[in-house]
Amino acid sequence: MPAGPLEPRGKSTVTAYIAKRLLAAVPVLFGLTIIVFLIMAMIPGDPAIAILGSYATPENVERLNRQLGLDQPLFQQYFIWVGNLLQGDLGRSYTLNRPVLDEVMERFSATLILAGTALILCSVFGLIAGVVSAVRQFSWVDKAVTFIVLIGISVPSFWLGLLLILVFAVNLQWFPASGMFAIYGGGDLPDLLHHLFLPAITLAVVATGVIARLTRTAMLEVLRQDYIRTARAKGLTERRVIYRHAFKAAMVTVIPVIGIQAGFVLGGAVYIETVFQWPGIGSMLVKAISTRDLLLVQGGVLVVAAAYVLFNLAADVAQTVLDPRLR
């Protein structure tokens, strides 16, 4: 997303820019809730049928719909929802019998921990691999890194997850197979890291590959520039040329991609959360859709969408800060 022209320079412009972008996000989010509401209304089956299962006689369905407040017209249901939303109330989930807000916030923080860790891992390892590859272009290191990175990009992550569980949880028993904390004892940071290790790696693998490929290309591009030759000619050490000049310039291309990867990582979390039984928002949404739990879907989508908006904004701001030409 292009950043608007910012002038004059300074902190206040950045703040104004962020405020403007956030304000622009509000209609987007509202539009989204309307779309979700309509889609959920259009797909066949309703929550009462999902709850009653085999016992969904027309009579029972009608009675339950009345009790759930689903017998009102659709637009009325929507406005009730929006009215409650403005008071910070996202309603009550039919299938979980608890406030949507509690469930969504708990689930979303779990997803943030998982996706955040994966994002850090893929940025760190992706950048290292990309830079090493570029600096030692065509060497065996480059070839080895490229080979591993290609495998990483190509492996389906849910399959990799199962494979890691099989090796490290079932056979070696180094890591737990599922969950976020030990079910007795535990609950502290080492326990969390222990549970986080396999899912975070699984989730990070594809994005690491993408970032590594891109960093390599960007670095090679920058290393061919005249000013790099000038820097070398000035007698700067190779280290300084690469990390001080080339790497910083290459980051301008790489950062928006990391922003996009943040989105992919959030999306990919859906599979990984299911495989590792991570209590995140992805697995919650999948279940909520299949049980037609409209309010839970609405709440979940709203939070995820807001997070996307924020990630994009953060990437744009970071890019602006790094690249003076964009100001």
């Binding site: 999902a50 969904a56 029972n60 009790q67 199962l162 197979a177 079910i183 590792f276 039984q277 037609r292």
Partner: protein
């Protein structure tokens, strides 16, 4: 850069250095559940998954006798049924208290049923109570004195007792409902062998042994229920030692557990039947001979042995054998006989008309519906029936099948699990149960004799008399073939070898009162 690498390595080694997987502690049983429970209010839930917790935290007035589907006393010590079958008087067990300390008495029983059934009740809004229609035959509940409670029914209704043994009939603490209101489902209190201790959303539900349990304290200190929705992950967790019991093991994995002596595989046939609804109103299946031909054409043993890998048995008729007292032992399943099927089709003048077959992608009790649907399609094609499959997601599927197949399809998959031999035939085989009359007879089967037998069985309070009526009904229905009778599912579970006294019940409830795990 080096520093970054070092930091990353530190994080990794920190994780690696954490203690390796502990085995589950002694006297604590960890159960792998298939989903997060919805609520621990037994009147608010419908899923077997939730029942697995509830049956250990609450008691009903009656319960199923170990290993059967026959009722025996629980919170009620005894009962009388009036001759006309409309008044049930229960003598309650004395000296029982709820986990929250409040007394169990006749007033508490009345509170439970009024809360579910009376829209004016002050705590009716702690619902909804989706299965309260199990008790819609109740007219009034009266606390005659502290230990006598009387139910007046609107009309004779024989399944009443077994409905009381169902989770919807479990007795909750009125004091806890009054205290917690709509949050009662997360702060449950009953009289059962285990007391609720903790519910950490999406991670675990913990219940601890009730030392004062009226039926003797359980051997276990605690039971921890863990929701693990993905079957492969559940298996991995079982193999890596994180679970003591897992339920609903996929057929593919049972063999692996069978050959490993660290584990014990348990199986138990239950009140489940998997069948095909045939559209008896229009199209080829309006002809009885064509319906029978379909029953002969489908190779049920192959389905059960190959696709379900022995996790089910071939069904003979509409009533599962698990209802031992009501089951007609004389019934033999339709044999696999393609020649006979072709013969019947020729007699009926079937000329290869295309048949639409609704198949679901999944759903409660549906086993492996796509693979089964495809195999059935192939079997029917082998005798000359041209079947085209339409596949739908479960809720969409129910939305299509429940209103009736007329004008849409000729056949559909379906499965039911019930607690009384009355339920399924009464809701799905009577003329009065056609979809337009609010029932589940989506194939429009109608036989006045069957209607009469089912009505009579519902009015009778004599179990032998009911058994005779159900057995006669099964014979007629098998001959009329409104369904293709396919399979009765065997529920399975795997336990660690160190788990003692574990047993699956035909009710499909997970009863843990007697289970021990000393190490």
């Amino acid at each position: 850069m080096k520093r970054l690498l070092a930091a990353a390595l530190t994080v990794a080694s920190l994780a690696l250095a954490s203690p390796s997987l502990a085995q589950t502690p002694p006297n604590v049983l960890v159960v792998g559940q298939i989903a997060e429970p919805k609520s621990l209010d037994p009147h608010a839930v419908t899923a077997v998954n939730d029942f697995r917790i509830l049956m250990n935290v609450y008691d009903g007035l009656v319960r199923y006798k170990d290993g059967t589907l026959e009722v025996e006393p629980a919170l009620a010590e005894s009962w009388d049924i009036s001759d006309d079958g409309t008044v049930y008087t229960f003598k309650l067990r004395e000296g029982v208290t709820f986990h929250d300390g409040s007394p169990f008495n006749a007033e508490a029983v009345r509170f439970n049923f009024d809360r579910m059934l009376d829209e004016e009740h002050p705590y009716y809004d702690t619902g909804p109570f989706p299965l309260s229609f199990f008790f819609s035959s109740i007219d009034t509940v009266t606390a005659v004195d502290d230990s006598i409670v009387e139910f007046k029914l609107k009309e004779p209704y024989a399944p009443f007792l077994s409905n009381l043994a169902y989770p919807t009939g479990l007795i909750v603490s009125p004091a806890a409902v009054e205290q917690h209101g709509t949050e009662f489902g997360r702060n449950p209190s009953g009289t059962g062998a285990y007391k609720f201790a903790e519910w950490e959303a999406n991670a675990k539900v913990v219940v601890t042994g009730n030392a004062d349990y009226w039926d003797g304290p359980p051997a276990l200190e605690a039971v921890i229920y863990r929701p693990i929705t993905d079957a492969n992950t559940r298996i991995a967790e079982m193999l890596s030692g994180g679970l003591d019991i897992m339920v609903e093991v996929p057929p593919d994995s049972l063999q692996q557990f069978r050959t490993d002596d660290q584990f014990v595989v348990h199986e138990q046939a239950g009140p489940h039947v998997w069948f095909l609804i045939l559209n008896a109103k229009e199209g080829p299946f309006a002809n009885k001979a064509v319906r029978q031909a379909a029953n002969y054409a489908v190779n049920k043993s192959a389905l059960v042995e190959n696709i379900l890998q022995g996790t089910a048995e071939v069904a003979a008729g509409p009533t599962p054998p698990a209802f031992a007292w009501a089951y007609n032992e004389g019934l033999e399943p339709y044999p696999y006989d393609p020649d006979k099927a072709r013969e019947l089709l020729a007699e009926a003048g079937y000329d290869g008309e295309e048949l639409t077959f609704y198949v679901t992608e999944g759903g409660s009790g549906m086993l492996d519906p796509i693979a089964m649907g495809t195999a059935i399609q192939a079997d029917l094609e082998a005798v000359g029936m041209d079947v085209s499959i339409e596949t739908y997601e479960w809720n969409t599927f129910l939305g299509k099948v429940n209103p009736g197949l007329e004008g849409k399809a000729d056949m559909a998959e379906m499965a039911w699990m019930t607690n009384d031999p009355d339920t399924l035939p009464f809701l799905a085989l009577r003329t009065e149960a056609w979809p337009d009359k609010g029932g589940f007879n989506s194939g429009y089967y109608s036989n006045p004799k069957v209607d009469e037998l089912l009505e009579a069985a519902r009015r009778s309070t004599d179990q032998d008399e009911r058994a005779r009526l159900y057995q006669e009904m099964q014979e007629i229905v098998q001959e009329d073939a409104p369904w293709v009778f396919v399979a009765n599912w065997k529920q399975n579970a795997v336990t660690k070898a160190s788990v003692e006294n574990f047993k699956l019940q035909p009710s499909f409830f997970l009863m843990l009162q007697d289970v021990a795990k000393p190490q």
